[in-house]
Amino acid sequence: MKKFFGLCFDFICSAKLNMILIVVICTVVWCTLSVMYGNYVYYTDSYNMFNDAGAADDIYFTAVVRSRAEIPKLRERILAIPGVTGIAEKPYPCRLPLSDDPDTDYATFLRFEEALYRKFTPRLIKGSGFDYSSDSLECIVTNKYKQPGVPNNVHVGDRLKFKYTDTDGEIAEIVFNVVGIGAANRFYPVMDGGGSASETVSVLGQTSAILLKYSPLTSDALDKVFGDPIERRGVDLYTAFVETDGNLSENELDGIVEACDRIGSAALGSVILANTKTELDSNMKIYAPVFMFLSVFLITTIVCLITLSIYRYAESYTIWRILGGSRLRVVAVIFASYSVCIAVSLIMMNIILHIVISGSIVDLEIFSTCILDLKTTLPAYAAAFLTCAMAAAITNSMVQGHDLRQLNGKYKE
């Protein structure tokens, strides 16, 4: 094996410039393709989630509130509108200052009320989820994108303990029962996208936050720990899905939207879905040709570069044969060397997307995580493999009829 790597290293060194070019080109192309693909997955996934939740007939409602006390009044006014059957409120994010590492570590939680939890039940890979009829403190975590304070590999049935500094500066402790492990690619109605009425389903997003069951049975205990997030910030956007009677006509629905609009600002779920579709379509109009172009560009450049390097290497390659290299071995070496190249570019892609993009562009909680899923990088790996196989095939076809005489330069047809 060491000898095989030695040969690969030798080959890579002999075709340095080519290899570097390929790495650079691949990295750029992978990044573009991944961002495009991640974007596509995000929109279609959240579109489906929104649709499956039956949110088309809901009204997405936002209003500015200055204290928690305003919320019951708001709810009352909305529920008083004829045709409105319920309200599913935004899950409130809240943070816990962990006392073990007070400088940096906050664990972020999302408090889920029952109505919203029922509407957008998170995708779980294990566990049954929240039981709103019990008063136990329950949470759902994901093992992929971890929050501070959460140990590795949490299982359903575990008890998660958080030590934190409470409002009096004392160290306190809270324990949650783990009732579910969230799927890596999970979407939630994070609903802090700004709240104007031109929304797309980007009101949904991915999050690594720990989900908490928030119900009248648990609210006292949780409020004691987390306090009032609105009070702390001074102002907040109250956000909710206003549920309507399923049998309303379009006119009646529009009437409710108008009524909601007088209280805060409102958009109909079906309008949001339509907006999303338009946005996705317009994105695809750009993506599809770019995708085609990049694929063709990538394949042709790689094939050209590889062919070129093999031609340049032909002499050494014939020497390899003379010295005892079988065809299979030589092809394997070239295949492996280019695979290494492409693997390097995939690693670079991950680094770039992870550090550069997710570090600098807002909203990236939404994108980065879904870009870096195996599911999304898999096509890149497949493409890479295909290209390497192509390189090997080219080599193999070049192997035919290469012998000493070509080196002599003596043989003329």
């Binding site: 060491k2 030695g6 020497i319 003379i322 005892g324 079988s326 071995r329 000493l404």
Partner: protein
Amino acid sequence: MPLIKISNLNKTYPVGKGKFAALKHVDLTVERGEMLAVMGKSGSGKTTLLNVIGTLDSFDSGSYLYNGHNVKKMTDGAKANLRASEIGFVHQDFLLMNRKTAAQNVAFPLYFGKTPYGRIKKLAADALSKAGVLEQADKHVTDMSGGQKQRVAIARALVAKPSLILADEPTGALDRATADEIMGVLLELNRKNGITVIVVTHDTEIADMCGRIVYIKDGRLMEE
């Protein structure tokens, strides 16, 4: 058992739509430890014969037994293994890899054989010293004289301890004195180490140093 036993071997090259017969009804037996010269005019088929013996080229009909093994039936991999462990090549144009040092060039064939990785360096040094160029081990081959290059090539040919060395006009690119030196190295390998050597040459003086001479004319082999 002879090292090489070739009987009624024919080899053609495709030329346009037809065929060109490069070797015709060749019979050749070479015993272990022989030093054989192959002579003939340009285009007579010397290199073709060497390529066939060295398993680099296939042939149309007839039989070729290497140490009793039927070469016709060998797979590409088996032939490669044979070249890696049994056969060393020396060539008029040296065929060294220019971006490597002498030691790296000599070590290279061992990457294809069964030699454990850890022993490669030592064996390369041994071969360099046998060929008389140990001092040049870390020099790049581009910085060497023709004679030194050919010595490096010989070191490379013998590094895997082969039974057979095939030399295609090994002195063709060298002056008289250097040519004699190189032949000296080959002769010594033949006498001291018992390696069978086949040398292709135009030069009767060189051929006379060998124990046996065969002639090739238009693809036909004739013994003296």
